[in-house]
């Protein structure tokens, strides 16, 4: 069983900075460039890959935590289930084995992390109900061919809550987060009792919500607009006094 916290030698309760620090130390130690003359070169490289995998796995789980997934329960024992689940699925798992080549765009990975919350390390499988077209759309989504999925969905005239849900999922996969949220909300309004649809809305909104709580720590504007106006004054002053700041900007 692969325990990423053990690989990095940190406590599951460690802060993200501690995890990043541990990762940096270990990846430097086992980096192939640092082990050219090492007789156990192959072992070092193996270790290097493990460290990379462990780091990415921990960070992915924590992101899910921020997104209101089940990742809050991760860490410690709850987490083992995910570890053993790896390597079983048809795809989606290449993400965990082959780093640096996700095999799909960045939002595939973004989306991939969505499904994992429910099925422990495996990609969520979509079922299309009775209509063959909806099934085709589901298959495209499962294969991460979101543009093709949208093409099929476009040709369907009988549009129920699930149709909106599939549109939302496809748009999210393409990084179209505004469209995705709007479709997801329509799906919820057509079928208010469906937990899956609600969860999708929550996940799409979670990034912004998380951001706002983080932002208050860094003097984010909005609630405190006078400070932002001060910033602009300060920047302008700087432009005036040292001349070069900004210069002929290309905006």
């Amino acid at each position: 069983m692969f325990d990423p916290y053990q690989v990095l030698g940190v406590d599951p309760a460690a802060s993200e900075d501690e995890i990043k620090k541990a990762y940096r130390q270990l990846s430097r130690k086992y980096h192939p460039d640092a082990n050219i003359n090492n007789p156990n070169k192959a072992q070092a490289e193996e270790k290097f890959k493990d460290v990379q995998q462990a780091y990415e796995q921990i960070m992915r789980e924590r992101e899910q935590g921020y997104r209101g997934g089940q990742a809050n329960g991760y860490g410690g024992s709850a987490y083992g289930g995910t570890g053993s689940g790896y390597g079983n699925g048809s795809y989606g798992n290449s993400q965990d084995q082959d780093f640096g080549d996700f095999g799909w765009g960045p939002f595939g990975a973004f989306w991939g992390s969505f499904g994992e919350g429910q099925q422990q390390g495996q990609q969520q499988q979509y079922q299309g109900g009775n209509s063959p077209k909806m099934q085709a759309a589901a298959n495209y989504i499962n294969a991460r061919h979101y543009n093709e999925a949208l093409n099929v969905l476009d040709s369907i005239t009988d549009r129920d809550a699930q149709w909106y849900y599939f549109c939302a999922v496809s748009h999210a996969g393409l990084g179209n987060n505004v469209n995705a949220l709007s479709y997801a909300k329509q799906a919820v309004s057509l079928d208010p009792g469906n937990l899956e649809y609600q969860r999708l809305v929550q996940r799409l909104e979670s990034g912004g919500q998380w951001y706002q709580t983080q932002g208050t720590r860094y003097g984010q504007g909005g609630s405190n607009c006078s400070s932002v106006l001060c910033t602009i004054c300060a920047l302008n002053l700087c432009c005036g006094s040292c001349g070069g700041y900004g210069g002929v900007r290309y905006c």
Partner: protein, 275 residues
Amino acid sequence: MFGYVMVNKPELKVRELDEYQAYYCGLCHMLKKQHGRAGQATLSFDMTFLTVLLSGLYEPEEQSQCSRCITHPLVKHQMVTNKYSSYAADMNLLLSYYNLLDNWKDDHNYKSRILAGLLSRRRKKTAARYPRQHQAILHYLQDLSTCEQEHAQDLDLAAGLTGTMLGEIFACEEDAWAPYLRRLGFFLGKFIYLMDAAEDLEEDRESGSYNPWLPFSEQEDFMSYSRQVLTMMMGECSLAFEQLPILKNAGILRNILYSGVWSKYEQIKEKQKHV
């Protein structure tokens, strides 16, 4: 359309501000070294951010020196350069060149045309060194012009084109971090495009130019809706950032991502209140 990715100065620590300025001066220096005085004139905050980001991620060997320059003739300034300020300088040149051509095409701005002419030879050389990034910019310009002609009523479309292009620029090496940098750049690019469009809204309404916010601008809750959309973009961008193992420069980068990028927003809001 650039210049939103800046620091919120009063919130930075003194040491962080010094470090940020050293990267800024370093980038300026690299622009001059690699692309001459005309190249230097294209210096931007956005590519300073990229320098600070990549330097934090890869922790490369750095050259630090104290020097005077034409814009600061009286005071010596600390400046830091490394292989990523060199990369950011090249990207800055490519982006600026096409941006200047665009200004010329749109507004017949002669200053832009002249500066673009001065950069043309350097642009060719640089483009040949980075075919992937250069292609991304060319594709972007082509797709964006189609999107504008069709007046796409979709907030994700034009913004997504900008995002995809910026993601390619941010992913400077095809390594384990490239997918994260693409995602970060993608949502930052969407944010920049939509922020810029919000700033130009009234102008575009009068001139009849394409602006994706126009169909939404009559809604009563437009201000809160646009803020929500922009916040979503920065949320995704920052989540991608937090996945990266960045310790060095982290304070500066978070200052920019969580606060600095909003510096111009209040100004825009003020402007729209008066319309």
